[in-house]
Symmetry: D3
Subunit: 140 residues, 6 copies
Amino acid sequence: MSLVKIIEYEQASAEVRVVYDDIMKTRGVDWVNNFWKALANDPALLARVWAQVKQVMAPGALDPLVKEMIYVAVSATNGCEYCTYSHTAAARKKGMTDAMFLELMAVVGLANQTNRLANGLRVPVDPQFIPCEARSCRRA
Amino acid sequence: MSLVKIIEYEQASAEVRVVYDDIMKTRGVDWVNNFWKALANDPALLARVWAQVKQVMAPGALDPLVKEMIYVAVSATNGCEYCTYSHTAAARKKGMTDAMFLELMAVVGLANQTNRLANGLRVPVDPQFIPCEARSCRRA
Amino acid sequence: MSLVKIIEYEQASAEVRVVYDDIMKTRGVDWVNNFWKALANDPALLARVWAQVKQVMAPGALDPLVKEMIYVAVSATNGCEYCTYSHTAAARKKGMTDAMFLELMAVVGLANQTNRLANGLRVPVDPQFIPCEARSCRRA
Amino acid sequence: MSLVKIIEYEQASAEVRVVYDDIMKTRGVDWVNNFWKALANDPALLARVWAQVKQVMAPGALDPLVKEMIYVAVSATNGCEYCTYSHTAAARKKGMTDAMFLELMAVVGLANQTNRLANGLRVPVDPQFIPCEARSCRRA
Amino acid sequence: MSLVKIIEYEQASAEVRVVYDDIMKTRGVDWVNNFWKALANDPALLARVWAQVKQVMAPGALDPLVKEMIYVAVSATNGCEYCTYSHTAAARKKGMTDAMFLELMAVVGLANQTNRLANGLRVPVDPQFIPCEARSCRRA
Amino acid sequence: MSLVKIIEYEQASAEVRVVYDDIMKTRGVDWVNNFWKALANDPALLARVWAQVKQVMAPGALDPLVKEMIYVAVSATNGCEYCTYSHTAAARKKGMTDAMFLELMAVVGLANQTNRLANGLRVPVDPQFIPCEARSCRRA
């Protein structure tokens, strides 16, 4: 029950197919998921978001599996159904076990709890947590 | 400008000091941060939340640094100022570099963006993302 | 699977029918959507929320279509399924094209991303952004 | 550092003063808090929001103190600083003790935790939780 | 379409059954809802979350029905479908009438509205709302 | 009290200065705001986010002022302090009057209220709101 058309490969313009092809090649899969088929209604949006996902989720200072788990953490926090399913699937493909998934959820649940305790009690930030730059101190 | 008293070690009951002592010992530090000093107004709440943090954040299927970064991801998503400062400090202590922190933020930002694109366009979940248990299929 | 009864026109009290009639007349339609039929379980709540919607969404300093798009932006940000469907439909009826809808979503996605970058990095507000009233300055 | 002018009683139009007077009289206080002084930049918005607060927060099926605590629960969940301070103050005035406040926060924290566990694991709703109306069953 | 297995009593380990039995006994029911059957994939998580729910939701400074309504308020604010159904059912079982539920929703709706007005206009916190401890004043 | 260094133009690398220069030129201003100076700690992130903002916020199917107001709506909903200040300033520069700002806030407040009423009552989506593509119907 999408609010825009789901654009299949066969119906897609050449411009859109280039992105679809790159998604499949980058991920080593032979299908494109609905998220991209919905974005394809605006080819510039599709290209822009995909370029960003491709760059941000690539190996870097953080491991790709860690990045997928962070994505799941945000999606569960926001209650995004589509994103929780899709990024949990992606994380599993990259090696997330049941034990890792449940531990991830335990951290997400706990963080959402203590976030509200801190917000609700209006706990003042300890000066020790503020980085040196901001406090004009010197790191030895 | 806390909404409850910040209970210092000197003012704390024996029951509360047991928790403060365990926090300092577990973390290898000689001070207790304000979050716990605020919770200490309800010693049962303090003990319960600390027991949970101690258990969930310990090494397990996930690395403690990964857990701290997940905590930061949730806190930034929720806009919790106290938690963002405290868990970023904790993550840095466990080895998070500037490059890792910025990459973490890039993933958090991206996930928050695509969460809303999926929600706003009401993209239907691809059957491929639904685990076998739920679809009554068999893993080979 | 509503948590309260969906009250149809035929079952509605005279007090509720007055609101239903006004909704249909104001919008130039011959049916009432489920949101109001759910609120009708508390006729005072129904009347109060409808009076507010009628007043706030009317033409004013902002164009009604712009208002509907702002409504969609908030609903997509909050992940409210019902509201995203209903206000997207309303916006389309007021002239929102596919191109406008996708551009709206692009802004919503981007804002949700940069909101978290600003929150997560704890970027200090530039004094230039604080209005004169608050800074005791003078506009020339 | 408000984004609109804070309109003091002395500067206020007659239309605005009527609302300020009603706020003070209804609450039995001799001052008006900043929230209303900010809304006063749009007298219709001020009158509409105040009429709503006055009606919704009055005694009804729920006790006014319970309502204030629900308000605090929502405000802490959303991380609204102003609202957390103002409604905690209001709840204290209506009799909320330290013990009640901390217990309220414990429930808020817990609910925010389990909300994400349910969202993240995508737990299916048990049919037993769906009311009879929706399931076409009969209450004996 | 859960992301983890729903573990039925018959399939559960002895460790998990102890928790299931305690849930049923504490609540005076003869079935366990899906939330716990999903958490059971991590027996330590199950035990920890249940211990917390059992302790926090028990009678204390606040009435159990009030606590359930606060739970519903948070769940509706976060848009958690599972939690809204399950805790509304629990609140109804503890005596929440239709009138109370609708009044609860009215407060939740209102708080979500004024939270954004305060956030959007950046209304400064009135010093009167800041408790004495924080302002170094004295309560007579 | 930023969590990363605020990188001034003088300290910036050539790569970062290119972006700073483009920001100033595109906006017709002679200064760069802190958001970008914080992102500059990761030059690739800076370039990527700026490219996106530049493209998305440019005139298109929607007017740039409308886009800024949508940005403010999202930022107020999320409670992002930095973003609310910066995009309100941007919207004012593009012509948003006090009346428009207050009307914008009225819509944002209302949408946040009805989002929770729909979520909390679990109102079923009316089939009339589901677009033809999804319902396999035909537009005449």
